[in-house]
Symmetry: C2
Subunit: 424 residues, 2 copies
């Protein structure tokens, strides 16, 4: 057995065993542990910043770009944010033990479903060290054990953070084996981890599209991950122009590098001549490049709004940049057909004053989140009232949309009898 | 492209397209279609029985055993049962469109989750032709399209049944393309079907353990299936002897070939001398062979109850036969340790008068269904109040225990705004 497989097997077995004790931990112990973790993060600021500084220096020397360096860096302000996030998880209601339904059957059996943890969550993530603390906190609160595998460039930061998290949790009565951190940065380990079907109940990868594709392709256990978010906003013929402009600009520009950001503007041909130039101008003023199919381009050029022709891959593409594809469509049916063909099932919006078309859009668009008269940037665990999230799922099984504490649970059927047998 | 792949690709694409219309079908149309299917099954009895008779004759000539022949056979009484089952599905509430929760956020957004169909259900099943009608009905009611692939030995029966189901459904306004039956009995087709990740949203195999293992190993899409059900009943020291005996006998003997049947009796050493002989004698009177570890064997032999030594594989084994493994354990901790090591996460029961031990059993046993003082044979969709079921899941993701209409659905987040944008 290789050293890599050995570390993984030992820590996996320890996590599995600890997951049984995690399932019956009281809310009080879990919340005390979370506050202890938050306290310890602040108390150990110097050590954390020193380890992170060493990671950042090495990353800089290795030529990691400024964008990635920024993701890697921990500052006193960010560390305070980590601690606040952990306390926010403590403040959420405990999902474990919730009775989803329970009824008395005619034969006297009381039959119900009770929410239980999934068991062991595996996670593979990249450079942002806050993910270590986030996911450990959410798994702890939801009564799951967790196996964390972070990126090589953050190894010193993650090693210190997980040591602090584990010690603080253990001090509050949480089984220390329930939080496992894989120290080896051997790349072979990802493949080994994805084979652990008997240990890991759910794999939650966090990272770029390549990592997520690899996890989906190789994992032998269930995976929940957000994939690509190609998000459309359709401006209907009855839309209020000011509302449409503000929603489109917000959906694109508030943050353009996140999965719920707008990628394509669709606009009804009936109002494109009056509305599209104003919307295009507002986007342009925020530095957005407009990539247009011919009808949209003709209208924008005639109005003197800068734009470029759309290429063959600009529709159905997640830009993660200050770029938007623009298309004029023939009414709601045209918009629905485009979204069916090009959407990724993440977040889709219509701006309309038409009751009937709003309802049809909500009914007929197949996506994790469908919006009427609001920005797609609201697709987010906190905005949806779930508190923190481990990601956003674009699949339909188990959980769709933001993944909060509840989505890290399963249920068991609990049956109270007084001697019932089933008639033969 | 092979002919097999061609049939599959065409029918898959048709099902996918039809699934969008299925998602918005009214409950009235779906229920009318179900009643039309029930009527048509009865009206076409002669044709169905003739096709099934031909299947049975060929199966008999090919030496199919009596057990399998019985599963294959359709009688007028059984056909009436099929029709009644379809009407029972019609009588269940429509899961689609149910709002799971919806709340007004501080910014005025109304955010909720609405239940939606999964899309396209794939199913691979073996000789019982009632599965064709059952699964088609459940998929129709839950707004899903379905691709059915039955066994070779029932091909004539299934061909006639699906033609009748499709015609009746179409007559009531259901898109006929939403119910697809694969006519090719080429074995290569199973492998091709398991590759259709882009078409099939959920695969539900029904059949023996080999089929289910193959589907889990090869499927590229999510799978929900019951696996092995190794079910324990633990007789605690405080158990009422009569209740314990009746529950154990019922859990084993009511039907021994189903996954919720008892496989292992565990009994506390404290009461084994007084209780085990009576329980063993009652099982023996029903023809059950007792395979015992040494402590249990000593007690039974001393009481003159016939039994045999347990072999190394008798614990953790699903017998599907009139056989039970028997073990004396040291209290609840011994029982919990045994179930953790040998259980399959299906159905587990305790017989006890102890409040504390009942609660510990419910809390600590990790299974789809945990029972106090009742027979594990109650694990069943109808018994749990779900109506019909497509199977029983022993996995934790998405759905656990009986899979009814609700478990064939996902949800979408639906957000009603009046111009909200997210603060920058």
């Amino acid at each position: 057995m290789t050293a890599v497989a050995n570390e993984l097997d030992m820590k996996g077995a320890a996590a599995k065993a600890a997951s049984r004790r995690m399932a019956t931990l009281s809310s009080a112990v879990k919340d005390q542990a979370l506050h202890a973790i938050a306290d310890a993060l602040l108390e150990n600021q110097d050590e954390i910043l020193a380890a992170n500084g060493a990671d950042c220096n090495e990353a800089d020397a290795n030529g990691l770009g400024e964008h990635m360096l920024d993701r890697l860096r921990i500052t006193p302000g960010r560390l305070a944010g980590y601690a606040a996030d952990v306390r926010a998880v403590a403040a959420l209601p405990d999902p474990v033990g919730e009775v989803l339904e329970s009824r008395r059957m005619p034969n006297g059996l009381q039959i119900g479903r009770r929410r239980v943890p999934l068991g062991v969550i595996g996670t593979i993530f990249e450079s942002r060290p806050n993910v270590t603390v986030d996911i450990a906190s959410l798994c702890l609160k939801s009564g799951n054990a967790v196996i964390l595998r972070g990126g090589k460039e953050a190894i010193r930061s993650n090693t210190v953070l997980t040591r602090i998290v584990r010690e603080a949790a253990a001090g509050a009565g949480v089984p220390v084996e329930a939080i496992q951190f894989i120290e080896s940065t051997d790349r072979a380990l990802v493949g080994e981890m994805l084979k652990l079907r008997d240990v890991i109940d759910l794999m939650v990868p966090r990272g770029n599209a390549d990592l997520i594709r690899r996890v989906y392709a190789e994992a032998t256990m269930p995976v929940v991950a957000g994939g690509v978010g190609v998000c459309h906003t359709y401006v209907d013929s009855s839309a209020d122009l000011t509302m449409a402009r503000e929603i489109v600009v917000n959906a694109k520009c508030r943050r353009y590098s996140i999965c719920n950001a707008l990628d394509t503007v669709l606009i009804d041909a009936a109002i494109a001549p009056t509305h599209l130039p104003a919307i295009g101008r507002a986007l342009g003023a925020r530095g957005v490049e407009l990539r247009c199919e011919p009808r949209a381009r003709d209208l924008l050029e005639a109005a003197g709004v800068p734009c470029v022709p759309a290429g063959p891959d600009d529709f159905g593409y997640e830009f993660l940049a200050l770029i938007a594809a623009v298309k004029v469509v023939d009414g709601l049916d045209g918009a629905l057909a485009h979204i069916t063909d090009y959407g990724s099932g993440h977040s889709e919006a219509i701006v309309t004053e038409s009751y009937t078309r709003a309802q049809r859009f909500l009914d007929e668009v197949d996506a994790a989140a469908v919006f009427v008269n609001a920005s797609t940037q609201f697709t987010d665990g906190a905005q949806f009232g779930l508190g923190a999230e481990v990601g956003i799922s674009t699949q339909k099984m188990h959980a769709r949309g933001p993944l909060g504490l509840r989505e890290l649970t399963s249920y068991k059927w609990v049956i109270y009898g007084d001697g019932q047998i089933r008639p033969e």
